[in-house]
Amino acid sequence: MAEDYEPRIVAFLCKWCSSAGSDLAGVSRMEYPPNVVPIQVMCSGSISPLYIFSAFNRGADGVLVSGCHPGDCHYIKGNYYARRRLNLVKKLLEYVGLETQRFQMSWVSAAEGTKYTQIIKDFVKELKPLGPQTKLRRNP
Amino acid sequence: MEKTLAKKSFSQWVKKLSSWSVYIPRKDEEGRWNYAEADSGGVSLDVLQTTLPPKKILFPQREVFLEFAKTLAGNRETLEIKEVLPEVKPTVIIGARPCEARAAWMLDEVFGGEFKDAYYWRRRDQTALVGFACTIPPSENCFCTSVEGSPHSEEGLDILLTDLGDRYYVQSMTAKGEKLISAAKELFEEPKPEARKQVKAAHAESEKKIRRQLKDARPIAEKLKGMFDSPLWDEESMSCLRCGICTYLCPSCHCFDISDEVDNPSPLRGQRVRTWDTCQFPDFTMHSSGHNPRPDKASRLRQRLLHKFQYFIQVYDKFMCVGCGRCITLCPVGIDIIKVLDKVRDHGA
């Protein structure tokens, strides 16, 4: 794969935990790859599968949805709904033949800045060998 | 010009047409026929009816009209549009049915006239239609003889082939047809007198085999004028699912939508494209105020039939339906326009 290929990741970060976690990583000047386009949402439960398919359709090479750990959700059960719904999305994408590494989900609390950077580092590392995502992408 | 061509040298003829891009019906493992570019593979010709008519080659589902792009020079934004006319190689569609060629002949009317449609004519002028006379009716719902067509009609065709057992009787009607024949002159022989008799008999025989019939189609067109508000449309459209099958698969349906497709919002880059559209979808006629002159299934079934059996006759004096039977065969709930038009004819009788 061309060494200079940089995967583009769209990350839906829950405002209360994961987005705060990514801010903590930034405030503490932690190093992590700049491939992520963060989109802050009120809760991981508010992520419609359409957003994920549309992100891939518009050229994302990887999509991450990150929410609060079970029990921490500001709205009590948003992340439980997300866990079930996005599991179905992952299974469907896999079933259709999209590389499984392209869609990831994670729990990152507001205090886990390091975990957030680690997730992004691993994600970029996994995406690099796959090359650009052309399956759902609009006229690649 | 009339010739005969031995069946066994048919695939050689196809190979000789290398300077054309050749479309031939191909059967997939599920037994469905559809047009595909002919590669070196054998040419099996026991095709009955392709699901998608040759319309998809002459009037493709997606046609890029123009490309638009904004560029930022300093703070000045410039917009240029680039017209995209299709570059079309000489094409030949082998295996079209006479009714599908008649449909192409009708599309010529619609896309010609006062405002000539450059995109359609770029393809149409380059495309030759080589048709097979229907010695066996392609579908159990064929009724071409009822709408002024026939299993061996010549309108819209460049070459008509009729199966005479071991060879084809070749009738070429246009210069394009002659060019196709001269590309492999050595394969064609002069027709013997009894071949001429055989082809006349084969044509007469094929007309008798057409399975469905719509009696007095022209008087029905007259009668439709007074039936705009009849409750018949509501009853007949009760089981309609409001999908687009009957229009997308109809060889003569030509309604289309023009929409802008944006690849990159800023700086703006995208194309304006024409795509197929259908009067069966609510958005087709809905005003931006939400008012819809055709709000329900009944008005849309009425529009589909009136356009084909009344309006087109009032404007071009011919039916817009060629009787191929696809909309009847492929309707998921079995709405049968012959049955509906029978009811129109017998309405109030």
Binding site: - | F115, A118, F256, P265, R294
Partner: protein, 274 residues
């Protein structure tokens, strides 16, 4: 290069005036062609305006064809394309193709009195023929305008109407009374009955929402107007403007090509599918 009927000519917006602000906003634009292209049209014809990336919309040309140096469009903000047009400023480029439609048969009305009856944005298509009639005033009898809108805020061409009053009788109306409104209060069709235009040697031209047109025609019939003395325009969804894409038909007529202007004598014979 064969003329491609779908490719718009680029035009620059030279003037953008707010006609109505707040809800049901209406703006009037004047456009000049980027490369000075010619654009001959008749009053009452329309043009397909393109906002690239959004789409196209068929808008009637509200300036008179006798004015050469710009085209004027008055646009109600109602959907994707019109909203994008409203967000445009002077100097932006849009696409214009056309002209489309049959336009008003103004030459057939020589020597006749003309009564213009408009409702809301319906005055825009009428404005082209009002201006043309004024510029050729000697060829016609008396001209008069009956125009109304929901509220005084919704009236279009407010300043032009003020100085139009000096050239012809102008009867304005609003649907609901307002404190400083002196003129008629009520719907336009009722105002027509009130003003009782005489049908003698007169042509009535009406544009506006379909419901208003229906009652205006009924009232004109009550005032003994003949069917061929009443003209109106039909609004249907349009995409190609060339009578090909199949959606704007009423009966076997394509409104974009065979219309949008119809006399009531012709329109009456077509199915009421608009």
């Amino acid at each position: 290069m064969e003329l491609n009927v779908y490719t718009p000519k680029l035009a620059k917006i030279v003037q953008a005036k707010d006609e109505v602000v707040g809800t049901r906003t209406i703006k009037t634009f004047r456009t000049e062609f980027a490369n000075g292209a010619r654009f001959d049209y008749r009053c009452g014809q329309c043009a397909m305006l393109s906002v690239f990336g959004k789409g196209e919309a068929m808008i009637s040309i509200s300036s008179s064809p006798l004015i050469r140096d710009y085209l004027q469009f008055s646009i109600l903000r109602t959907g994707r394309v019109t909203a994008a047009l409203h967000d445009m400023e002077v100097g932006d480029l849009i696409g214009v193709r056309g002209p489309y439609g049959n336009g008003f048969p103004i030459d057939e009305w020589r020597g006749k009195n003309l009564v213009f009856i408009g409702g809301g944005i319906g005055l825009a298509p009428l404005w082209s023929v009002v201006q043309t009639a004024l510029l050729r005033k000697s060829e016609f009898g008396t001209l008069s305008l009956i125009y109304g809108a929901r509220t005084s805020r919704d009236l279009v061409f407010k300043d032009e109407l003020a100085d139009l009053k000096s050239q012809m009788p102008v009867h304005l109306s609003i649907d609901v009374a307002e404190p400083d409104w002196k003129e008629f209060v009520g719907f336009v069709p009722t105002n027509v009955l009130e003003k009782k235009p005489s049908p003698a040697n007169t042509i009535a031209i009406t544009c506006g929402p379909p419901i208003m047109i229906k009652f205006v025609i009924k009232n004109l019939k009550d005032l003994k107007f003949e069917d061929d003395q009443i003209y109106t325009t039909v609004e249907n969804k349009m995409k190609c403007g060339l009578g090909k894409c199949g959606r704007c038909n009423i009966g076997f007529h394509y409104v974009c090509k065979d219309g949008p202007v119809y006399s009531w004598a012709e329109l009456k014979k077509l199915p009421q599918e608009y």
